[in-house]
Amino acid sequence: MKIPGSGGRLFRKYVVVLLVLVGGVLMASSLVELYFSYRETQLAIVRVERAKAVAAAGRIEQFLKEVEHQVRETTRTASDDPDASQVGPGRLGFREGLGAALAQQRELDFVRVLRNVPAISDLSHLDLSGKEQLRVSRLDPDVAGSQEDLSRTPKFMEARAGKTYWSPVYFKNDSEPYVTLAVPVGKYAREVTTAEVSLAPVLKSVSQIEVGPGGYAYVVDSLNHLVAHPDSRVMRDKRDLSALAQVKSARADRSGSTSDASALTVAAGLGGGRMLAAHAEIAPLGWMVFVERPAADAYAPLRAPIIRSVIIFVLGLGLSVLASLLLARRMVAPIRVLQEGATRIGAGTLDRPIELRTGDEIEALAESFNRMAASLKESYEGLEQKVEARTEELADANRDLTETLEQQTATAEILRVISSSPTDVQPVFDAIVRSAVRLCDGLYGTAVRFDGELMHLAAGHNWTPEVRRSLEEAFPMRPDRRMMAGRAILARAVIQVEDALADSEYSQHVARAGNFRGMLAVPMMREGSPVGAIVVNRDQPGSFSVGQIELLKTFADQAVIAVENVRLFKELEARTRELTRSVDRLTALGDVGRAVSSSLDLEQVLTTIVSRAVQLSGVDAGAIYEYDEPAEVFHLRATEGLPDEFLESAPVLRRGEGVTGQLAVMLAPVQIPDIGVAGTYQSRARDVLLNLGLRAALAVPLLHEGRVVGGLAVNRRVPGEFPQDIVDLLQTFATQSALAIQNARLFREIEEKSRQLELASKHKSQFLANMSHELRTPMNAVLGYTDLILDNIFGDVPEAIRDTLERVKTNGQHLLGLINDVLDLSKIEAGQLTLSLTDYSMGEIVQSVVSAVESLAAEKKLALKAMVPADLPPGRGDERRLTQVLLNLTGNAIKFTDEGEVSIEARISDGAFVVSVSDTGPGVSEADQQTIFEEFQQADSSSTRKKGGTGLGLSISRRIVELHGGRLWMESTLGEGSTFHFTVPLMVERQAEKA
């Protein structure tokens, strides 16, 4: 605890109180003084104002009285006027004369008033009945006897009553204040004189009152209307000032005292703002003069006193600070000693009393503290005992709580283990046994599973080697009364034994091995049937608490849940596996189907099949064989998971050899659970398979239309029968394989046929080529000799013989042409025709053809034209063959044209020669245009006989052009002639591949 220094709270408090006291008194006295001096100033101001107001009121009163006096004096009746007798009365009758004289006199009197009193603007005389008899005006023409009836006006009535009447103020031209004065006339007759009096002089005297800055004076009439004010704007408003506080107060004040204090009014001024107002009454009229100054003026003289007060206040405050510091220090010192003592007591030091000798209440307080310390000391001792007892109680309660908490924690822990281990029940049993031993204060814990017949050890905790051995010797066992687990399972209830040694039925062997006494067993129940038990052993005899039993029951229930969970999980897993397998199978079959339908490569297809089959059926190796039925042997086609060693050992299996060989006999799946068993499997591959560790074997036949076309064999390392689903699966693959083998066989046959056909065609061409050669050589000899004879080399030939010889020659030449054509064609077909590429001129080719057929055309009287541009570039190609083509086309044209013309045209287009041969022959029909280029074809078979020809020319020509990389085609309309075109590239550097 902090011991406060001189700035302690109490100290501050004292100082503040003293300051407030002294400062407050000072301030109060200053304020009182200021207030009074303010009041005095106010009163002084008001006194001055009042004096001014009284003076102004006096002046105004004087002015008005003077006016009244003038009017009264100068308007006496004529009889009162000493001058009246002078106005020639002698010539008038007395009464009339008197009346007229009076009237005349009155007018003159009025004129005189006007001259003497500038403030009066009009004077009127009203007779007894209130009718106006005379009006004299300063500004307007005078009027005599207007007889205007004014009897009801206040001015007449008041004046008739003998009073002096002052009307309220009215304004001429909205700006000049006037009042009406009415006075009775004469001593007896009650006639009335009225006068309009300008208040301008009053206004002037009011506006001339010096009131000081911001101050002003004004006059209100008896109705509290503003009569005079220095500011004409205020005047113009014609305000009723009855509501002003100063006016009210003045009116109320009228009868009472006129002391300065009571006359003081602070009120809102005419123009707003707080004003100090004083007033004085203009007695005869009931008017009031007000003098006002801003209230703030009263403060001006206060400036000095305020400064004075502030200085006094500050000094006083300084002194009081000093005084309070001293005083407070004296008071606070003993209190601090007291405080220190109290702190000691608070800290537990009760032996040292507080030493204080001030001789006042503080010393008494110190004594009280000392007494208190003594009694505190006494009570402390009793308290300590109580605390001890209470602590014990709390510890007990805490223990119970801890126990419960531990049990719940354990339960939660087990639930956590259950949830984190859905597939394995072992961790759950371990956790249960561990927690059970801990929470039941046990020595050992055991979990046992019961499969309906035997009990199996599931988990143990804290087992000593002796216990473990004795238990492992006893289990698995049928439940009986020797073991706690057995008892619980038989009874299907919680079993408790207080002392194992005292229970003769219990296996004393185990009890001694474990050296335990108290035992508790709880069965695990699933749907009313026991599935196991939890046992806890203690080293001390005695019973288990209800809480522990309940806990163990909970554990048992949790164990059941865990076992159930795992069972369900495993079931699910199995189902999932099954499903996955089905999907895999379908996928594999899809693959196989795709392979079968997309490939004719048998080996590839079979490899795919055997690979998928092995993969899906979960075996270790597999092979596919093709059965050669006539030879009664199986040929190995594809393998999976088998080394080359195997391929070498048995590439071919005889009928009946191994599982596959037996297929040819059985026509159904064959399996051998273990080829290791002597006599079950006879094959050259047996040793190889055994070396590979393969034991079980299965083969399914590849059947096509009831006949074996092959076999699918699989091998497994694990011996044993193959399940039916695998057999079924393999049969599916076998069907696919059979299909593939069948496809492949068909394909192989087709391929073989094609090859044979090709060969036959080649032979034919070769034959033709050879034959042509063989035919042409003797033909040449025949023709050569015929020529020699016709050239008379052997002497003159008689005409008859010559004619015959000519025929021989012609037919011989035709035959030679035929042979040549056949030779060419066969050469082309045999791929033996080769172009001899040289530089040539298309112009020369055309020219040579023209000269060759000129005579033929001339014979048929046909015009033959050739159009060749002079600037055709040289080409490269087989000149002789191209000439042959053009000759053939031109010859045909001449041959099939009976009249008209044949023209040849050559030109360049897109880097190629385009040569066209046109005729005016019969033309070729649309349908014939397709076949005309085939061998041995002519458009009209009838024309062949007429025109001759082999029908090979066009076909050969087309082949030649195509060998040059060009194209030959025709355009024709039946009856309008034909045009044959061909193109050859300008430069042919090599022969085109395909002719």
Binding site: P118, D140, P141, N173, S175, K204, S232, R233, R236, A304
Partner: protein
Amino acid sequence: MGAVRLRAALRSLWPAVLILLCVLTLPAAAQQARRPFRIGVLNAAWAASHPTVEGLKAGLKELGLEEGRDVTFDIRFTEGKLSAMSAAAEALVKEGVDLIFTSQEVATLAAKDATEKVPIVFTLVGDPVGASIVATVAQPGGNVTGVSSLQTELIAKRLEVLKTIAPAVRRVWLFHYQLDLGATPMVSRAIEAGQRLKLEVVPKAVPDADELRRALREVRRDDAILAPEGSNPELTIAIIEQSLAAKIPAIFGTALWIGYGGLISYGPDYYAQGVQSAGLVAKILRGARPRDLPVEGAEKIDLAVNLKTAELMGLNVPRKILLRADAFRR
């Protein structure tokens, strides 16, 4: 003990407090000294000492404004030349006077044309509303106010006075200066009053003295002349000459003309108007705005008669006139 010391300390503080108070009050004292107000004067007089100006000076003095100390005067008189008025007015404005004091209509209008800011106080204007110098008498508006010589208001009374002194008169010629706009309401009022008084009123606006002299030839022996106050004093002088020469009774607007031989006058005194206007001038100089100061009617209206002229014209001055008269000329 402490209190004694405190008191001693306070005593020693007094001089400081006094000095402080002096310092605080100094600026207020300094404010008292300011330059005199400059009043520009504009009229058609032949000398600076026009009665209105003299009256103004006297009035201001009475109100505590001493010439030289509180006010100075810049007097422009055009010696009867009305055409010089505008230039003189503008010169005054350019000089930067605080207020322009004018006499008669033409000078007032010239000043009003020259400035809309500098306050203008007029005198000797017969009808300020009729002359379009102010909007209304009660609220003049603009920067102009002043003292009206009540020409229009007094016209009937003048006819009456004329008839009183010359009862035989049947026709009255009313000559007025052509450029005085304020004369129009006066003329109609005169005709109206003439009917009541059984007098034929013949109004005649004249531009100058020559034209007036020509017109005066038409005046017959039984006729009389009403010579109102106007901006052109030459007209009045011509009327006096003709009136005396032809012994034709004539009434004038102010007592001034009686001294020159005029028969009779009824109207406000020049000097008195000057005095009266000093009240307005002082208020304006002390901060009031002209628009807030109503036009005042001339307060002092005098009747003056020249008994010698009356005798010359063979007129018997009635007692009513004699009693009313503020001044005589014998």
